[in-house]
Amino acid sequence: MEKLLRASNAINMVMDRIAMAFGWLFLALTAVIVFDVLSRNFGFQLPRMGSTRLQELEWHVHTALFSFWLGIAYIKNAHVRIDVAFTNAAPRKKAWAELLGCVIFALPYTLVALYFSADFTWIAYVTNESSASANGLPWRWIPKSFITFGLLLLLLAVASVLVRVIVQLFGPEELRERAALFDASAKMT
């Protein structure tokens, strides 16, 4: 149990690092958009990096930006919940609900999505798919792989939460407290 909990902690830490590293893409995205607007209005462009390519780059970056944060958002409990029934429930009850949710919804969903996403990326790779537009970016498999990697991280996040819930429910007394779910509500829209 102790080992499992440590693995979960390690996953959480690594996920946090990865997400933060990709978080700087917010600045990159800002920079690309500002550059695109300026260059189009002033009529200059980088060689082989015209506006079409820049605009495709924008949504490539956007794809990376949300994909790599899917998992950490679950770990930090930022995904919206409709918690009418469980707001005031005892921690054990909440842990049971989380366990069932993971098994019924999160695991099958993440696994199926991961499988089909990997397939989707693989097809793009073997067919050497590139942008539909002649001036667009090549290597469509790269942005597609962002989603696959994002889902992989999400699967790890689900595993990590699952471990904590299991330790909390069935683990030895002294570990239960340490396993309590991350509960930093970060809803923000």
């Binding site: 917010f26 958009i33 962002f146 809803k187 923000m188």
Partner: protein
């Protein structure tokens, strides 16, 4: 059995509604149920196994390779950056100075500030937390009645999601294929009218019960004219700069909403730097907040796309049209009324994002066919859709205020001092919910309020 298979899409919908209340993250529930019913459909031969291969391309097209939605992370980043930049404190102080002699002046300055902040950010959380933290202590200290103080802040904060730029309008525009620029323009006057209604209410109430909204001491603020001008310039420059940059460039036709969002987040970074607030710690804080919020929005997008794909594949579209017709909702007005009431009721439990992403795709085919020419004039379905999105938006904005699950109320609960309990918050927002409904009725009765500006700037004809 046949009945079961025919109504599988409907069952899917009800199971979803039930499962959402499990308290498990909405995005997982949506995706999980979609997969489950896909498998179930396969079992009954109404969902071809090969359709599973369409799931990812759907998500890819809807959420990833969609240049319009790039505006969403940028507006989220911009709003979060502004929240940390400290420009709000200056603005509120300045508005208080300007309105110090008017009864209810402090509450009015909160509403005005909410309106101005709404025109610089596209999200709600930031404005509500910001207003609660800086304005609520000031109001309580001055002896404002608790319920009035809370209601004012909650209502002013929610304007953020309606007044452009707004990520809600970006997403609804994308779902119903209406130009985001047109929606931004269409939302301006409705937002201002709601703000005016709030102001009028606060004014009347403060005039009738001055004890509930005591005026500020006359001696706050600068002593000399020069200092006053400097205060004005200093506090109004940042928001005016951003509003011009973002909304100006969209309405002027120079930039797409996505570009304006990118330029706006550059502007927000610049303002934070000018205020001396830009450092590593702030930046990391902003990135974390924005990153989590963004992932939350797009993960629901992910799940909802799968859900509506399966719903549609199981014949959900025809079923909805058939059912609405059976229930007698066949004319434009009846459908509109149905949708608005449905949204209002759902708004008690769900947020705008679930309602938008689940309900809109389900009803989109019905909406595309609605003819409102007699009320809106000639201009085709696009006029109706624009008007409809704005009506929905006001409705969804109200959902932030309606208990038990108003987002705004939650933000407030996290930030208010212990002297205010949940009942104060609930009772404080009631008058403002009524004002919302008055505003909504005005927009229904006089669609020109919505349609005039987008026509004027040339987004609609």
């Amino acid at each position: 059995m046949d009945w079961l298979i025919h109504h599988l899409a409907l069952i899917l919908f009800f199971i979803l509604a039930l499962a959402l209340f499990s308290g498990f993250p909405v995005a997982f529930v949506l995706g999980g149920i979609a997969i489950m019913f896909g498998a179930l459909g396969m079992l009954f031969d109404v969902f071809a196994p090969v359709q599973f291969f369409n799931l990812l391309p759907r998500v890819w097209g809807a959420a990833a390779s969609n240049p319009i939605l790039v505006a969403v992370p940028m507006f989220i980043f911009m709003g979060t950056m502004l929240e940390r930049s400290g420009i709000a404190d200056d603005l509120l102080h300045c508005l208080q100075v300007l309105l110090r002699r008017i009864p209810g002046g402090l509450a009015m300055s909160v509403t005005l500030m909410g309106t101005i902040m709404a025109a610089t950010t596209g999200i709600v959380g930031a404005s509500v937390v910001m207003l609660t933290m800086i304005a609520l202590p000031a109001m309580l200290e001055r002896g404002y009645e608790k319920k009035l103080a809370v209601g004012t802040i909650a209502s002013a904060g929610t304007l953020g999601i309606l007044i452009p730029p707004s990520i809600m309008l970006v997403i609804m525009g994308d779902l119903l294929s209406v130009s985001v620029g047109a929606l931004f323009a269409a939302a301006v006057f409705p937002g201002l009218i709601l703000a005016a209604l709030y102001l009028a209410y606060i004014g009347i109430r403060s005039f009738m019960r001055p004890d509930q909204a005591p005026p500020l001491p006359a001696d706050i603020g600068p002593k000399t004219q020069r200092e006053l001008w400097w205060l004005l310039a200093k506090s109004f420059f940042p928001p005016v700069f951003l509003i011009t940059l973002v909304l100006g460039s969209i309405f002027g036709g120079w930039a797409t909403p996505t570009e304006a969002a990118g330029v706006g987040s550059f502007g927000a970074i610049l303002l934070a730097w000018m205020k001396g607030r830009l450092n590593g710690a702030t930046l990391r804080g902003v990135i974390e907040r924005a990153g989590l919020t963004n992932a939350m929005v797009f993960f629901i997008f992910f799940g909802a796309t799968l859900f509506s794909f399966v719903f549609r594949s199981l014949g959900g579209d025809e079923l909805v049209i058939e059912l609405l017709a059976k229930m007698g909702f066949d004319t434009g007005w009846k459908i509109l009324t149905f949708m608005l009431i449905l949204t209002f009721i759902l708004g008690f439990f769900f947020d705008w994002i679930e309602i938008c992403l689940i309900v809109l795709p389900v009803f989109a085919p019905v909406l595309q066919g609605v003819d409102f020419g007699a009320h809106l004039g000639d201009g085709g379905p696009i006029l109706f859709l624009t008007w409809f999105v704005i009506l929905m938006s006001v409705n969804l904005q109200t959902s932030f205020l309606t208990p038990p699950f108003g987002f705004t109320l939650f933000y407030m609960k996290g930030t208010v001092p212990p002297s205010i309990n949940m009942m104060d918050i609930y009772r404080g927002i009631i008058p403002f919910v009524i004002l919302q409904l008055i505003g909504l009725s005005l927009l229904v009765a006089f669609p020109e309020i919505v349609l005039w500006l987008p026509r004027y700037v040339g987004f609609l004809y």
